[in-house]
Amino acid sequence: MNLKKDFPILKRKINNKEIIYLDSAATTQRPKIVINKIKEFYEKYNSNIHRGLYTLSEEATSLYEKTREKTAEFINADKEEIIFTKNCTEAINYAVFGYFLKILKKNDIVLLTEMEHNSNVVPWKLLSKRIGFKIGYLNIDDSKLDLRELDEILKKRRVKVLAITHASNVLGTINPIREISRICRKYNTRILVDGAQAAPHIEIDMKDLNADFYAFSGHKMLGPLGVGVLYVRKEFLKSLTPFISGGGTVLEVTKENLKFKEDHEKFEGGTPSVADVVAFSSAIDYLNKLGMKNIKKHEDELTKYALDKLNTINDIEIYNNHLKDRVGVIAFNLKNIHAHDVASLLDEEGICVRASHHCAMILHKKLGINGSVRASFYVYNTKEDIDKLIKGILKVQRVFGK
């Protein structure tokens, strides 16, 4: 699979070298069809949605709502269950402040895991400051969660909600959400899933996963920046407060009264980034054409190839060497070389990797490190990219050799 030609940015050179983009866990690149769709929207359909009684606005509205249908289909949900946000973080905040704010009390427990991204930690901490509930963390052992531990905790303590990532943005571990939801149901614990690192890489079926809330980002799956998705299980839609309220959400506002619309429009206050949402549908088309199973297979091949090669390097520590149940994310450190220095020197070779705690500070603390270098793969990456990464790493070690 070599799709580089579909991605105009990958033709660009940096430091006179071809871009080797290995930071798709942060944001992916966009194929030409997505970029063209944005242009087409502004040239042919630009207008505000759900408001104008003229053709342009009707067409724009229809394109926007068709994306909702396509998004729902992509994760096997109903279109009413899809709320567009600006990113995954906003989607999680939506669920936390639009729903959990109302049901959590002082003596409740919210359970997270040690592998959460800050976006699934900070909103809970903020709400906990207001309400006073306790936050617990499921342990990670050998890059994995222990489902028996989850069962034990839920059996002993009244946990109202488990908020968990579907795939770790550092370890790559895919958590078995279907099994986890089954355990949560047994104890009537709500489950919110951060799908930012999973939805782009594996088939998502909400009927099968059985989660209550599922958040993900369009820009991590070839879509434009500025589009996030919150899936809300139908039964919670009625009790969900419009967290982003305002224009477009209400039937009637008077000095005395406030009456929200009945349908999903009440959840998306203000003018959305219509062109970006519309172009997100082209990203889904592109992914569907490739097939999520093929994408996973391609990433599995790259991950295996990369791990095999990385393990031949001296003085390297790799934080998850498992191949099973993981997405194409590899975090590592070179002995005695700071992650920032590794990333800056790789940049001189045109190689884009991330170096930091990747917004997973609790996880890094658990690993006993301040940061790591992260390479993450997507549809456009090839084995040649990994060969260049390996060559780059060896060069970094040469530069820092004593």
């Binding site: 700071h338 992650a339 920032h340 220095d341 800056s344 020197l345 001189e348 930091s356 705690h357 490190i369 301040n370 940061g371 530069v399 820092f400 004593k402």
Partner: protein
């Protein structure tokens, strides 16, 4: 960024170590990357006669600390207080990319704490 100058100061720093006899102790910490510095200064009539640092960090932050300490020896405290980003970059003699500026500034930020 990783010119010989920077790498040499990182690999074989002139001022890494402890000062048992010191007048001012300064700390700087960058929580986003975990870099930590401790700088100790020895004064004589408000003039720096010795300076050492301890800590951990990337090549840019540690080399920058070493080069900065080289440059402040024999300076008066009121001169150090006036040092700014521009001065530091002049000392470093390399271009620092925007993303790495916080690394380069860590030691200078420690000196800024001098009252």
């Amino acid at each position: 960024m990783y010119r010989q100058n920077i790498l040499e100061h990182y690999k074989t720093p002139n001022n890494f170590g402890n000062l048992s006899n010191f007048n001012i102790k300064l700390d700087a910490h960058n929580p986003s990357c975990g870099d930590e510095l401790e700088i100790k200064l020895k004064l004589e009539k408000n003039k720096i006669i010795d300076a050492k640092f301890l800590g951990k960090g990337c090549a840019i932050s540690l080399a920058s600390a070493d080069i900065l300490l080289d440059n402040i020896k024999n300076m008066f405290l009121n001169e150090i207080k006036k040092l700014n980003e521009k001065d530091l970059l002049k000392f470093l003699e390399v271009e620092i990319t925007p993303a790495r500026m916080n690394c380069a500034l860590l030691a200078l930020n420690a000196l800024k704490q001098i009252k």
